[in-house]
């Protein structure tokens, strides 16, 4: 569970870069201007190899696993990164990696020129597993029809990886944002990521169909589990940063002639924040380690991490606001932004309640097959 030398190096490099280049005030200016992906930052991510992490060395990738992606995710939480890093890495490691058609696109993904964002949400949550959007066969090829709403980081996408239903089961279809027949509305989001709503009504050729049938379903399952762990890691980073900010603030802020940090009622609440954050950390790292194990173990740990991190992220960032007082309710102070980001992460790809249900279903399957533990 401890980091390897290579992982420590990745952490240190990323930490240093983000500390110097992801300043909170610069982030506010950036968002105010409607810039969710700052080109020079994105370029730097590419140059540091972050966008190449999931791909094998034969594709000029770094062949890194979930643990390394989670390291970046944790730091994204700490530094409130708005760039679509975890979004693209999640798609790349679960969908693009499985697709032969995507192989030709990988060089562009690694350089940062192609930003593929998953489009899975529709007006009803069930559609994240069984979409209403359809990919149907036509005389000349295929046709994609449907709508995908509230795509987080959608404002930064150059392409969408669209989840659709087809005559062969699920399908992942890659559509360029500027394609004729795609109408895309982008909008600001509370967490600064920038979102998109899309209507698709356009012809699709074979090259655009990344995966279909069982392979597409497997990719969806991998995508969801990757997103659960990655969102847990980012939540962890944000919760830790919210706690650190709160500890610093209560040491400095004086009321009744003494620092807030000297009051036991507040000390114990901060101790709780630490306990819960550390427990979450253990599960997030364990979920990364489980990525190489069997499907049951992997799935169970991913869901456990999601359930725990969602609950703890919410609680810790709410407490951070409360312990600060009025200042934390302002846009100009950082703590409220951790709160807003973890709230968005709670529902991204899979909610806490959905993860809990699936966790229980996995245990029930196990009991049905081998009897109670």
């Amino acid at each position: 569970m401890t980091m390897t030398e290579e992982q420590t190096m990745l952490w240190d490099t990323a930490d240093r870069y983000l500390r110097d280049n992801a300043d909170f005030n610069q982030r506010r200016d950036q968002i105010a201007k409607g810039i969710y992906n700052l080109p020079q930052k994105w370029q730097a991510f590419a140059e540091m190899g972050w966008l190449a992490m999931p791909f094998p060395e034969s594709m000029d990738g770094l062949n890194f696993g979930l643990r390394e992606i989670a390291i970046l995710a944790e730091l994204c939480g700490q530094y409130l990164v708005t760039e679509p890093l975890i979004d693209t890495l999640t798609v790349a490691s679960s969908v693009l990696m499985r697709s032969e058609q995507a192989a030709a696109l990988v060089p562009d993904v690694i350089t940062g020129d192609l930003i593929a964002i998953a489009a899975i949400d529709e007006p009803t949550a069930e559609s994240r597993l069984s979409p209403s959007s359809t990919l149907s066969q036509t005389e000349s090829g295929w046709h994609l029809q449907g709508k995908k709403y509230w795509i987080s980081a959608g404002a930064s996408a150059t392409h969408f990886a669209v989840l659709a239903d087809s005559c062969n089961g699920l399908a992942w279809v890659l559509v360029a944002k500027d394609a004729a027949g795609l109408s895309c509305e982008t909008f600001p989001t509370h967490d600064g990521k920038g979102g998109a709503n899309c209507h698709f009504d356009l012809p699709i050729n074979d090259d655009q169909i990344l995966l279909m049938g069982d392979a597409a379903a497997e990719a969806l399952s991998a995508f969801r589990e990757c997103a659960m762990v990655v969102s847990s890691a980012e939540t962890l980073g944000a919760a830790q940063a919210a706690l650190d900010t709160t500890v610093d603030y209560t040491k400095q802020r004086e009321q009744f002639g003494q620092p807030l940090a000297s009051f036991q009622a507040l000390q114990h609440r901060m101790a709780n924040m630490l306990i819960q954050t550390e427990l979450t950390r253990s599960l997030v790292y364990a979920a990364c380690d489980a990525a190489d194990r069997n499907a049951w173990d992997r799935g169970r740990f991913a869901r456990a991490a999601k359930v725990k991190s969602a609950a703890v992220g919410r609680k810790v960032t709410q407490e951070a606001i409360q312990l600060h007082g009025g200042i934390a309710t302002t846009d100009e102070y950082i703590v409220g932004h951790f709160f807003k980001r973890v709230t968005a992460l709670e529902t991204w790809v899979c909610s806490k309640g959905e993860a809990l249900q699936e966790f229980m279903a996995l245990d029930a399957d196990k009991i049905a097959s081998v009897g109670p533990a």
Partner: protein
Amino acid sequence: MNASSPLPTDSDAFRIAVRDFLSEALTPELIRAGKRTTSVFSDFEAGRQWQSILHQRGWGAPDWPLEYGGTGWDIQQRYIFQEECRQANAPTPVMMGIQMLGPMLMHFGTPSQKERFLPGIISGENVWCQGYSEPGSGSDLASLKTTADHDGDDFIVNGTKIWTSMAHYSDWIFCLVRTDKAVKPQAGISFLLIDMATPGITVKPFTSLDGEIEQCQVFFEDVRVPSANLLGQENQGWTVAKSLLEFERGGQHFTIDLKKQLSKVQQMMSSETCRGTADPTFAYRVAEAQIDVMALEQTELRIKGSLTAGDNPGALSSLVKVSGTELGQCCAELLIEAAGQSAIPWQSEVLAPSYNGSTAAASESVTTMAEYINSRATTIYGGTAEIQRSIIAKHVLGL
């Protein structure tokens, strides 16, 4: 497997070796004692008997270094041993001597103290209790008032200790006593080892909420203690005490028992003889508790990993103590809800290992209510949950 054959180092093979020993050594009565354990301690006699069996096998104190009769097992092996003992329903002996005093003797004791006391501890022949809290000194332990005054080569001890677990069975007590009243409280405390048979000592047991006797008050009236029984330097007792408390809090594997509790909850949820709740939301709460137990287990592993690397877990032991005990209380609540009405009978006699008759409770729920009742003590003893949170605030967060 006999005592002289070396144990396999491979985890799975080690586990099998432990399991084989347990299935051979545990009598039905010892297993009943283990199953009917409702607090930290099993039936006293069963626990003492089990300690003696373990000692004969060379496993009397797995955590101790080899030179003092320990096993030399690594952390992983010790964890496996503990896990297998629990799974096999081995009884829990009174462990204050082995877990708390032993390491202090090794660290602070003179050669003659080690030679004199350690063998009796590991064999289970001498049972020790812990004299820390006093009626006026609970969380504020350093304010303790029991005095030890010099009289020739001896100390004369006067005062009283309270919440002294198993004092009524104990041969010896390790005590914090005041040897200097003029200095600040922590600086005037010494650590004394006292024979419970010394004239002037009386023990008053308390009946706990579950009807059993574990807690006592111990009174000292002009009790004469040789100065050779002083552990560490005079007035350095606070250092020994703090170190001991870290041993009490650290090195515990809460999740072994927590997982066992939750598997009992699940058995009850599918039981035909004592399914106590028809609440459809109950299963969700069990699942959330399971996830919390997974988080704690991974945290215990993380701390163990850092210990192997030679770091000091320090205040992390407080984190584990708070989470482990509060989660234990949560699991105990789930257990009484899962057992429902079947947990209401109060029949102390059925908890005796020798009892083999029928019970008014369902067989699954015989211990449930007592476990729940006793779980309330876990966030009080060994430093309350509030004290642990203050330790975390001070030493981890720097508040």
